[in-house]
Symmetry: C2
Subunit: 175 residues, 2 copies
């Protein structure tokens, strides 16, 4: 499918709108822990986003990750909520629960509390899922709580944009 | 001249933190349509909010309102998604699904499209729920999409703060 080419300074939520508005019935959902709703807020800030954005879950507490997003309890017990495995399960769970084409997830330590030597403040995992594949990215951000959430939000949107763009260049099958 | 009380200029999410951090194990969840995650983002922006903020649902599409928040289909059919009845069902549903003490919901027409004569752009219903009661407020905001979402987010947080404060002044039973 041919879609308008992006501009280099285009915000990822605008790129998503451009790509997904052209793709009738393709949908996106969010599953956020450390970003706390900011990814959903950025996606839904674009007029017309209700055409492709079904919604999302803010899974701050682990009970929400397991009960609503169906993250398996052994993932939380063995790897912890801040892990690639949890980011993957959140993205897969959101795509399944909402029956969407794409999902994006975030889980990390926004601080100022909650950091450990193994999982310091600023450690964030981003997950993106479509039917064919689920990918996770490990990030280590610097700054205060606000800075970390802002960087994690931007990275999540960029990873989602990349996956949607890849679909449009037909490098991965989505459906 | 009356000196403002310490809380009169306090942002509602800070007031929530002050009240709920003092109340061990009392919890809050969000159920957002038109605000798209902004209420959750404001609540979770406060350090330590993971102690009382369980999470939330961004229910942009009606299927999410019914499937995840358990809004009865007859509410959506009879009154529509932008209605006091839907705001009430979203708040009640979120409190039930997440098993929380308090819930706040938003549903409205953020624009620029989607407005009708009966339900114009800027019409927003806010719902707040605790065990004892669920209340809704009808608002008509002015401005563009960004302005309407910002005002709806602020109003939702203020209504939630009022309900939590009322609980602490023991005017309504929560549990």
């Amino acid at each position: 499918m041919k879609v308008p080419s992006p501009t280099s300074l285009e915000q990822p939520e605008i790129a998503l709108s451009r790509l997904l508005t052209a793709a009738a019935r393709m949908t996106v959902v969010t599953a956020e822990s450390c970003t706390g709703g900011n990814v959903a807020a950025r996606i839904s800030s674009v007029p017309g986003s209700s055409g492709y954005f079904l919604g999302g879950v803010v899974a701050y507490h682990n009970a929400v990750k397991s009960r609503v997003l169906r993250v398996p309890s052994n993932v939380l017990e063995r790897f912890g909520a801040v892990s690639a495995e949890c980011a993957r399960a959140m993205a897969d769970g959101a795509r399944s629960v909402f029956d969407s084409d794409f999902a994006v997830s975030t889980t990390g330590v926004a601080g100022p509390g909650g950091g450990t030597q193994r999982k310091p403040v600023g450690l964030v995992y981003v997950g993106v899922a479509c039917k064919a594949t689920t990918q996770t990215v490990k990030c280590q951000f610097e700054g205060n709580r606000h800075d970390i959430v802002a960087q994690a939000t931007e990275r999540a949107l960029q990873e989602l944009r990349k996956m949607v763009e890849a679909q449009f260049s037909e490098s991965i099958p989505v459906r």
